[in-house]
C-alpha cells in the first residue's frame, strides 16, 4: 500500500503532494483538476516496471482511446503530450517490499524517454521507454494495477482475460462472493463462448445463464469493478468515476463490497468521483472500520498548479452532517 504520493511535471501537476493515503482513496474535485491524471500517476509509479506497455495503454484508456487505437498511437503520441526538458517524477512511500518508491521519466529533445525506477533505495531498472516499448525485465519490480475507465466499458476480450487469469489461479469464487454481496441472486459466474468470443455470463437462477452486458448497465459496471479488484489482489485498483452507471441507492453496497474485498485481498483502491452521494456512500460504508481504511481527497486548482485537500474521517463526517460542500 502506498502511504503517500508525489507527482511532478505530469499532466496538470507541477508538484502534487498527498502526504497521507489510505487503503481506500476517493478523489473529488472540479473538472480539469487532475483526478484522472492522479490515477495515471499511481498507474505509472506502481506499474510501469511491471508492464510498461500496459501502463502506456492505461494512460490512453481514460482519455477515451480503445485497445486498437492505443497500439496505433504507440509511445509517440504520449511523448508529444508530455513536456520536454524537466523530468516527470512520481514518488511514494510504500509498505510492501518491491513496490517502486520513485519513477522518473526524462527525455532529451527529440530523443527517447529514459525511465528510472527506484525500489527499496536502489535504482532497480532503467530502460528506454520510447523505441524499446514492450521490452522490460522479466522480474521487474512493481505491483499489479488494474484501471477501470470511466467512459468505455471493458471489452469482452479484456473481461475474459481478467476472468481467465482468475480461473487459472482458482480465484473465481472471490468474484462470485463479491457479486453475491451486491446481488444475492447471482449463483455462478462463467465464461461462455458466443460466436468466436468468450463472454462473461451470470447465473441468476433462471433457465439460462445471461451475458453480463445484457443484465444491465449497473450490473455490468459492478462486474468490471469486482473482477478488476479481485484480479488486483496485493496490488492497486484504479476506478475512474466510480459512480458511472450506478444508481445512488446502491453506492453504499458497492463501496462496502469494494472495502471488504480490498481488506480481504490486500488491495489499495483509488477512485474518482463527481458525486456527493458517492462520497457519502463511501464514508457510510467504511464508518467504524480502522482509521487508515478510507480517506477523501479533493483536488483544487490554485494558480497554475493543483493542490490536494485530504479530509480526516472526523472532518468528513462533520462536513457531510452539516451540509458543507466537499467536492
Amino acid at each position: 500500500m502506498y502511504t503517500s504520493l508525489e507527482i511532478k511535471g505530469f499532466r496538470c501537476f507541477k508538484h502534487l503532494s498527498i502526504p497521507k493515503l489510505a487503503r481506500l482513496n476517493l478523489i473529488g474535485g472540479k473538472n480539469n483538476t487532475g483526478k484522472t491524471a492522479l490515477l495515471e500517476g499511481v498507474r505509472v509509479l506502481g506499474g510501469v516496471a511491471w508492464d510498461p506497455a500496459a501502463v502506456l495503454g492505461d494512460l490512453y484508456y481514460p482519455r477515451g482511446f480503445g485497445e486498437g487505437e492505443v497500439a496505433a498511437l504507440g509511445a509517440s503520441a504520449l511523448a508529444a503530450s508530455l513536456p520536454e526538458g524537466a523530468p516527470i517524477a512520481f514518488a511514494g512511500q510504500a509498505s510492501p517490499v518491491g513496490w517502486p518508491a520513485s519513477v522518473t521519466l526524462s527525455r532529451t529533445p527529440g530523443g527517447p524517454w529514459d525511465l528510472g525506477i527506484e525500489v527499496d533505495g536502489h535504482l532497480h531498472a532503467a530502460v528506454q521507454f520510447g523505441p524499446l516499448m514492450g521490452h522490460h525485465e522479466e522480474e521487474a519490480p512493481g505491483c499489479r494495477i488494474i484501471l477501470v475507465p470511466s467512459r468505455d466499458r471493458f471489452t469482452k476480450a479484456r473481461m475474459s482475460r481478467l476472468f481467465g487469469g482468475l480461473q487459472k489461479r482458482r480465484k473465481t469464487d472471490l468474484v462470485l462472493n463479491a457479486l453475491k454481496r451486491l446481488e444475492p441472486a447471482v449463483e455462478a459466474v462463467q465464461m461462455i463462448m458466443i460466436g468466436d468470443e468468450p463472454v462473461l455470463h451470470l447465473d441468476l437462477g433462471g433457465p439460462e445463464l445471461l451475458p453480463a452486458p445484457l443484465v444491465g448497465e449497473g450490473m455490468n459496471r459492478v462486474c468490471e469493478i469486482v473482477l478488476a479488484e479481485v484480479a488486483a489482489a496485493r496490488g492497486i485498483l484504479l476506478v475512474d468515476e466510480i459512480e458511472n452507471g450506478l444508481h445512488y441507492s446502491v453506492m453504499a453496497d458497492v463501496w462496502r463490497t469494494v472495502a471488504d474485498t480490498a481488506v480481504d485481498l490486500d488491495v489499495q483502491v483509488f477512485a474518482t468521483t463527481h458525486s456527493h452521494e458517492c462520497v457519502e456512500a463511501a464514508y457510510a460504508a467504511t464508518e467504524g472500520m480502522p482509521e487508515d481504511t478510507f480517506l477523501y481527497h479533493r483536488l483544487d486548482r490554485v494558480g497554475d498548479d493543483i493542490e490536494c485537500q485530504t479530509y480526516s474521517p472526523r472532518g468528513l463526517e462533520i462536513a457531510l452532517q452539516t451540509g458543507n460542500e466537499v467536492r
Binding site: D300, R314, I318, A319, G323, N324
Partner: protein
C-alpha cells in the same frame, strides 16, 4: 450571491464568511443579514453543532472547503454559555489557532489580523452572545411587556421547581420557545419567527451584532484603514 435556505452545500463564494453554531442561529442570521442588506456580502456557512465541534470544524471542514483560500474576513458567532465572554474567546482562539497558527482574540466583536502563510492575511473576529443568542430574541418581547410573557414566566417558574439542573442559557432557550409557542402560529422556529415578526430584528438590542456583521462585510472602518484587507 444570494443565500439559499436549503442548499447549504456549496463552495465558499465570498471573501467574508460567517460561522455560526446551530441550525436556529444559522436561519436567524440569514434573516438578519438579509434585513441589513448584507446577504450578498457575507457568505454564511453551514453551521457547526456544539461548542466542542468548533475545534474540528474550523481546520478540518471550513479551511478545506473550496474557496477558503480567497477568504479575507472571518467572523465566528458563539454563545458564552456558562463560561463568560473570556472563556468563549479563549475557546474560539484555540480553534482558530489550528487554522491560522496564531489567533488570539481578546475582545468580543473586534477583528484581529492573522496570517495563513505568506499569501493569505485574514481578519478574524468573534461575537459572543451572553449567555446565548436566544436572549437577544426575547429582549424586545420582555421590554414590550407582551401580554403572553406573564404566562411564559409562570410556566418557567413552575418548571423550575421540577428542573433544577438547567443553565442560564437553557432557561433562556426555554423562555424563547415558550414565547414562540404562545404566538398565533405556534410551530415556528426562530428564523421563521423572525419572518413572521414574532422576533423583532429592528430592536436596538441587535445593534452590536449588526455592527459586527457590517464590520465583517467590509464596512466603513475597513475602507478608512488602507492597511486592512
Amino acid at each position: 450571491m444570494s443565500v439559499s435556505y436549503r442548499d447549504t452545500s456549496r463552495p465558499i463564494g465570498n471573501e467574508a464568511i460567517l460561522v455560526v453554531e446551530g441550525d436556529d442561529e444559522f436561519h436567524l442570521l440569514i434573516r438578519l443579514l438579509k434585513r441589513e442588506g448584507l446577504e450578498g456580502r457575507i457568505d454564511i456557512r453551514p453551521p457547526y453543532q456544539g461548542v466542542a465541534e468548533l475545534g474540528v470544524y474550523l481546520p478540518e471542514v471550513l479551511a478545506k472547503t473550496s474557496g477558503f483560500r480567497d477568504v479575507r474576513r472571518l467572523g465566528v458567532l458563539r454563545d458564552a454559555e456558562e463560561g463568560g465572554i473570556e472563556d468563549a474567546l479563549r475557546s474560539v482562539s484555540a480553534a482558530l489557532t489550528s487554522v491560522f497558527r496564531s489567533a488570539k482574540l481578546t475582545h468580543c466583536g473586534r477583528f484581529e489580523t492573522v496570517d495563513i502563510g505568506p499569501q493569505q492575511r485574514v481578519h478574524v473576529g468573534a461575537f459572543i452572545s451572553v449567555p446565548c443568542l436566544e436572549g437577544l430574541c426575547l429582549a424586545p418581547a420582555r421590554m414590550g411587556a407582551d401580554p403572553a410573557m406573564p404566562c411564559v414566566e409562570a410556566y418557567l417558574e413552575c418548571l423550575a421547581a421540577h428542573v433544577t439542573d438547567s443553565t442560564q442559557a437553557q432557561r433562556l432557550k426555554r423562555r424563547l420557545y415558550a414565547f414562540l409557542a404562545s404566538r398565533s402560529d405556534p410551530r415556528l422556529r426562530p428564523g421563521q419567527a423572525a419572518d413572521a415578526n414574532y422576533i423583532d430584528l429592528s430592536d436596538p438590542c441587535w445593534q452590536p451584532l449588526k455592527d459586527f456583521l457590517n464590520e465583517l462585510a467590509g464596512g466603513e472602518s475597513w475602507r478608512k484603514d488602507s492597511t486592512r484587507c
